[in-house]
Amino acid sequence: MEKLSGLYVHIPYCTSRCSYCAFAVVHNGYAGRHRYFDALKRELEGYLELQGGEFVGFETVSFGGGTPSLVEPELIAGLIDAAPLIDEAEISIEVNPESCDPQRLAELVAAGVTRASVGVQSFDDRVLKYFGRSHDAHGAKVAIEAVASSGFDSVSIDLVYGAPVESERSWDYTVDELIDLSDLLEHLSAYALQIEPRTKLHWMADPPTEEADLAGRYLRLDERLAEVGLKNYEISNWSRPGAESRHNSTYWNGGGYLGIGMSSHSFDGQTRWWNVANLAGYLACVEGSGRAVAGSERLTDSQIAIERIMLGLRTSRGLDTATVAVPGRFLDRELEDWFEISGDSARLTARGRLLADAIALRILQSVEEGRDKDETD
């Protein structure tokens, strides 16, 4: 069993729901947050007891949501205190521009938070409005400056590209603004807009942005970021050297993590389990039994192998070169153009990353065919 090196804490509260959001969030019930934090602590304590005396502490903690910055910093602080941590632990929190007043940010830093990620999404007001965000571009810039001057070790922002109302010019403007602010940033996440079922955008059913346009926006962003020293290390994530999100890297490297709070997922290297996804149910379960597990799956070795390939392709870690090539020759020649090989590691190029899922499928097939062939030989 992998040790649980990461702790994810789900904070479900939002003031309003964004048009693309399918996450487990609640925009009423905020009044009950103290009870929710009590439940989080109880759930955490239960796991710690199971770990016994050998557990040295979490290497990372991540507060996500929802809008974790919405709750009082003292609640966050209380939870950090309750979690055993190693020295130099990474403690990150997602913050929204409208809850970035300096006082609150200072309290988070004092509580031990080392990393803040600001949900900017775009610097184009038209796009922000389309997403139903409660801030504008100006508010986002003010927030970034406030976060950057609050004393966090690392500042990141989130962007979303490919909204149907976003033009090429609009995206280029957002990238220009981002580059202007890049001195303040150690990290960036940029996601292609994905229309999830049960979201307002799904209901609106606007014609989606063309694949080729999305690809162009991604590639332009990647190029501009490289110029200012932000390097891609996962499909949708860029950082300065050493400022990669350690918490998220645990997900991508197959490490163990504990998720607490409604709808959160946990993984110990072999088994993945997940919590009840509604607030009332979560509270009732934890208050009754100390846990709120809704389901679990134990991965077979081949499923672990599939995840390893799938996640390896997404990151700069890449795959073992032997998975895709023998010396001098690619196993599947069609894939050759999408990879760059350095020694033992075969990584996707920027264009290849855009096709990571289709490539994963091909590699899985060729791995399977190779296995079938071995069996018949």
Partner: protein, 597 residues
Amino acid sequence: MTQIDRIRNLSIIAHIDHGKSTLSDRILELTKAVDPRQMREQYLDSMDIERERGITIKAQNVRVGWKGYTLHLIDTPGHVDFGYEVSRSLAACEGVILLVDASQGIEAQTLANCYLALENNLEIVAALNKIDLPQAEPDKYAEEIENILGIPADSILRVSAKTGIGVDLLLDAVVDRIPHPVGKEDDPLRALIFDSYYDQYRGVISSIRVMDGSISSGERLRFMQAKAVHDAEEIGVKTPYPSPIDRLGPGEVGYLIASIKDVGEARSGETVTSQIDGATEALDGYRDPKPMVFCGLYPVDGDEFEDLRDALEKLKLNDASFTYEPETSGALGFGFRCGFLGLLHMEIVRERLEREFNLSLIATSPSVKYVIFMVGGGDTPTEIDNPSELPIASSIDRIEEPYLRISIITPSEYTGTVMDLCQSRRGEMKKMEYLSPERLELIYRVPLSEIVIDFFDQLKSRTKGYASLDYEADGYSASDLVKLDVMLNGEPVDAFSTIIHKAKAYDYGRKMTSKLRELIPRQLFDVPVQASVGGKIIARETIKARRKDVLAKCYGGDITRKRKLLEKQKEGKKRMKNIGRVEVPQEAFISALRLDD
């Protein structure tokens, strides 16, 4: 045995929907052959498909009594694909009832069958049906029949098969006008088989007409064309219930069961005689039915290949006129090349396979039999019915294809559009004749390959359903034909290869490539879709490569979701065919083959 001068043998010739089955039903009632409580509509059409489509595929015959006479009603298949079987049925008769809808007039196919009856010197008793309908114009159409066939208008009866009006008079006319059969009881036996079907309990049951001599139950029989000997296990008549009897005399019609397992051994046109002191000469007119239209049939699910083979074997027992042999397609896997008498026959066989044997099938586009003369091959041609077998163009001297002589009867207002259609199908006009001021008959010579693809549907839709079509084979002629290949990423897709007239290749190629571009999902690389003739590309489309296929977010819970999706896609890929390194879902082939619908 029935006294020969008290026998009348007859068929009813009618166009689809002109009321043949209804008239048969009325006759069964009037002659009290069927208990009214057991009467159901279209009593003699026993297959589901027949009743649904309102057509007769397998002929049935029935013996009824009328005023001291014995009438044998011999039902004929109602479609041009079964023309040969019609001719055998007529050979068992001395006369026919020509039944014409009094609101529509005579149709092309009825006319063709009437000419056939006249050639066989049969007496024609004409009757206009549906006179109860408000739109009936019996006088007008009686005159038309007189003009076309020379049957005096005042001799034409008026009936309503639906209400029964005039049916008794019609039966009286049959007795009066149709001559009784001739034939001596003492002559050696010659009986004509005019229909056979397979019964899973009794084996083959054949309809026979005794021409000369007599046939007895238990007698050892020789089948003259099949050169086989069988015992007459049971003979009988249908009233319409099968009733075994000891003996059938000259002129009589009945059934024969002789422990035969395959209808191919008791085909229509076969002559049956006695093994001892039998006849030395068979009856005229026998020929092997030859398939005219071909297509590949493939199971949608490759695992059903053996089931398809079983089903074809069973169906073949019941239908000697279709052929099948295994073939392999790179695109569709294992299947069978099948030959049919015509398009309807093809549709019926396919439908029976799907319905009675619960199979799900893909059919390739219908094709015909081409005759290939090779360079330096002299006058010995090669025959092919599968376009992928066509040799390379440079080795071919010429290609001949089968032609039809088609007859179309249409209201004159549609003459222009019908002529356009025939010309667009490379038709050559032979004759145009007015049957009446409002209707005319057009005769064209047209390649069969131009008819097999949606000609009939086009004719019907252009004439609002009013035109009727008949055709007969009209030899082979050389045409400027080429083989068109469709290629994916440079590799030919055999299921889409076709032999086509040079002038039409370009259009077809464009249509096919653009259809495939839409149907085949985008791949990791650009995929050219090309149509080529003799190595020359005549149409090209490109399936553009995918530019983006990746999930943007992949954190905690997303990982399970993403893996499950991958596992599912991996399973899905197993059902794809790989052609020229392009993954093509089976559905794309199925949809593309529907192109001509």
